[in-house]
């Protein structure tokens, strides 16, 4: 079979069961575009900035478990995508990014729209390829999808010079399987260690499970719930682990960390055995790992051996796929003795969940709005949350019945939520999807309202508007700093008019008494809708 490089790329994508590409056109990717033009079974979502192609692919990947794919051009297209790649890398999202590149014989001459993108992305991509011969493409694609989706998932970059896309290859054959000698991710946990784990769990009086994004990544949600329910061990999560259990699940003690729930942090501090599952114990979740290490032994289950002992030293390391390991553990005797401890924590948790929210005239308290919003969402709803105060408020107050909570946990990329929401909608048009932004983060991605419009989507966007980059404002008001600088969002537009310009209706709410009615109307809207909630700029994440 004779094919061009571009045809091989598209055929390879189809063989990997790709059904959607997030992309932006450009000169060096034209041969590929020309093939896509006659491949209607491959969907295409046009972004308005390449960074958002990465975030859309991320949203798509996180709800489907499939590899998200983005295709952009060389030079600025590729550099714009870098933030999307880095965001995916920090949250271990399976992604394949294809970039166009200048002709291979001109590489290194600094010609128009040339940039060394594999070099630039190297610190935050799982792997990358600069294709020198189109005959290598079938294997490269197979490897790229395999690497992106197995072990600890992550973004893989394939940089394809335009002449390679045009190169004709004779006798093309596509490999069915792939084996890479330097890449063999662990799957099963060591049986001896599994026995240690079961024993430690049974002996502990105050154990606590700390679950992270790895549970989602290994598709272990059901086994995780079974494990928690069987052992009756209280669960705390990191930000990436939110929505593993419903907010009011009797075992759920909330999110840990400097911005987390009081009950969750207390559970962690007082525990006598910490069971970390699919989490790297990063600084935002565990502020002082040394202190935790000093106080209690820990079990660390992770697919990436490099995470074991990187941030926190552990008593019982267990490397492998979280789902497989949980199934292995579930085969053991798990008679625990932590019920008194659980009851004690549940009392605390109840107090926290039943808190009263303050009322201020002329504004909406974000915690109350998010709680009321959560109560109204469908069980499977996906919520995409941006970065800033809105993220912390959502983590703390948004009532989750399950579903999915998606945010940029690792890199903290403002402007993530709206494109991620588009990615979710593209994958699952019927799934209720809500985006939560601040007015800072919304303005970083609001150009993607065009994608919402073009896709005729039913995407609900909540904008918590306080006219300030609130989280940085909080930091700047705290010692050693002396006050706010560069955080006032002067010149922000009339957001209702912006939405209207894209043909999207909006609802503005500025009084506590109107919130419930506004939320009902917002969610009942047939298509997309923007809910603008006026928030007092002095409200902080600790209020």
């Amino acid at each position: 079979m004779e094919m061009t490089g571009a045809q091989i790329l598209v055929e390879g994508l189809l063989r990997e069961k790709v059904d959607m590409i997030f992309g932006y056109a450009g000169a060096t990717i034209c041969p590929l575009a020309d093939v896509l033009r006659s491949t209607p079974q491959l969907g295409y979502t046009l972004v308005r900035n390449e960074q958002n192609a990465g975030h859309m692919a991320s949203g798509y990947a996180r709800v489907t478990g499939k590899v998200g794919v983005c295709i952009v051009t060389s030079g600025p297209g590729a550099t714009n995508l870098l933030t999307g790649i880095a965001t995916a890398y920090m949250d271990s999202i399976p992604m394949v990014a294809i970039t166009g590149q200048v002709p291979s014989h001109l590489l290194g001459r600094d010609i128009f729209q040339e940039v060394d993108i594999t070099g630039a992305a190297s610190p935050f991509s799982k792997h990358s390829y600069l294709v020198k011969d189109a005959a290598d493409l079938p294997l490269i694609l197979k490897e790229a999808f395999y690497i992106a989706s197995t072990g600890r998932p992550g973004p893989v970059l394939i940089d394809v010079p335009i002449d390679i896309q045009e190169q004709v290859v004779k006798d093309v054959s596509f490999p069915e399987t792939v084996s890479i000698r330097g890449y063999n991710p662990s799957v099963r946990g060591n049986d001896k260690q599994i026995a240690h784990v079961a024993e430690a769990i049974c002996q502990a009086e105050r154990p606590v499970i700390c679950a992270g994004g790895g549970v989602f990544l290994s598709d272990a949600m059901l086994d995780f719930e079974t494990f928690a329910a069987r052992t009756r061990i209280p669960v705390v999560t990191t930000m990436m682990g939110l929505s593993l259990l419903p907010t009011d699940h009797p075992l759920n003690m909330g999110m840990i960390g400097t911005q987390g729930n009081v009950c969750a942090n207390k559970a962690l501090a007082k525990s006598d055995l910490l069971i970390m599952i699919g989490t790297r114990a990063a600084d935002r979740a565990i502020f002082s790992p040394e202190e935790i290490q000093r106080r209690m032994p820990s079990i660390h289950i992770d697919v990436d051996p490099a995470e074991i002992g990187k941030n926190i030293q552990t008593e019982i390391p267990l490397v492998g796929d979280v789902r497989v390991i949980l199934q292995q553990i579930l085969k053991r005797d798990l008679t625990t003795r932590c019920t008194p401890w659980l009851t004690q924590l549940q009392e605390r948790r109840k107090e926290e969940l039943n808190r009263e929210y303050p009322v201020r005239a002329g504004s909406v308290f974000p915690g109350r709005l998010l709680r009321l919003l959560g109560e109204r969402l469908q069980e499977k709803a996906a919520v995409c949350v941006d970065v800033g105060q809105n993220q912390i408020w959502a983590c703390k107050h948004l009532w989750l019945k399950g579903g999915r909570f998606l945010t940029s946990g690792g890199l903290g990329t403002m402007g993530y939520a709206l494109p991620a929401g588009v990615g979710v909608k593209v994958a699952q048009p019927d799934r209720q999807t809500v985006v939560i932004c601040g007015d800072g983060s919304f303005q970083m991605a609001m150009n993607e309202l065009a994608a919402v419009r073009a896709g005729n989507m039913d995407l609900k966007i909540v904008l918590l508007k306080n006219g300030v980059l609130g989280l940085v404002n909080q930091i700047q008001k705290t010692a050693p700093y002396h006050g706010p600088f560069g955080v006032s969002l002067d010149g922000s537009p009339d957001f209702a008019a912006i939405a209207a310009a894209y043909g999207i209706p909006s609802i503005t709410v500025g009084e506590e008494g109107e919130v419930e009615n506004a939320l009902d109307r917002f969610l009942a809207e047939k298509g997309s809708c923007l809910l603008i909630a006026k928030v007092d700029p002095t409200v902080t994440t600790s209020d």
Binding site: T118, G119, S122, P123, K126, H127, L130, K132, I147, I180, R181, G182, Y183, D304, P305, A306, G309, K310
Partner: protein, 161 residues
């Protein structure tokens, strides 16, 4: 403490870049790095000397292992490895100093690779320590230039990594 890490990698363009990028990104310090192809032309061996604590070296190993093109990583035990470094050193030399220089070369096992009316160039392959000693002994003669390869190493005995 200095430790020697031996890494087998796919012999492909860009692999060395990935390794050095990893070291800078993870804030690991490299003392020296030497790379060359092995008996299998598809595989290169990289010998890296790092000067970090034990926990850091463990992280270096784990992070190297994460690179797709890295086939094997092993930290070599100093007492059971053969480690050698090649140095080429040029000093000022004239009729008066030449004999003294030759004496030191004999003691240290260095060979004279080039000679001119005003200079001598020596080569020495030995452990980094002994190479340092030779350089120290040459210092009084006015060293003009030095080139060192960084150490390469294999473990002693019949085993391989």
């Amino acid at each position: 403490m200095k430790q020697t890490i031996s890494v087998l990698v796919e012999n492909r363009a860009g692999v060395l870049g990935r390794i050095t990028s990893l070291f800078s990104r993870r804030a690991f310090n490299i003392d020296s790095l030497a790379v060359g192809v092995t008996d299998d032309p598809a595989i290169s061996r990289i010998t890296i000397i790092v000067d970090n604590g034990n926990s850091v070296v463990e992280q270096v190993e784990k992070q190297l292992n994460k690179l797709v093109e890295v086939i094997k990583v092993r930290t070599l035990d100093e007492s059971s490895m053969i480690g050698r470094e090649l140095m080429i050193l040029k000093v000022s030399a004239n009729a008066k100093t030449r004999n003294n220089i030759m004496t030191i070369c004999d003691i240290c096992g260095a060979k004279v690779a080039d000679i001119s009316p005003t200079s001598m160039t020596m080569e020495l392959s030995d452990t980094p320590d002994r190479v340092n000693t030779f350089e120290e002994m040459m210092r009084p003669f006015n060293i003009l230039e030095v080139a060192r390869t960084g150490m390469i190493a294999l473990q002693k005995g019949g085993g391989k990594i």
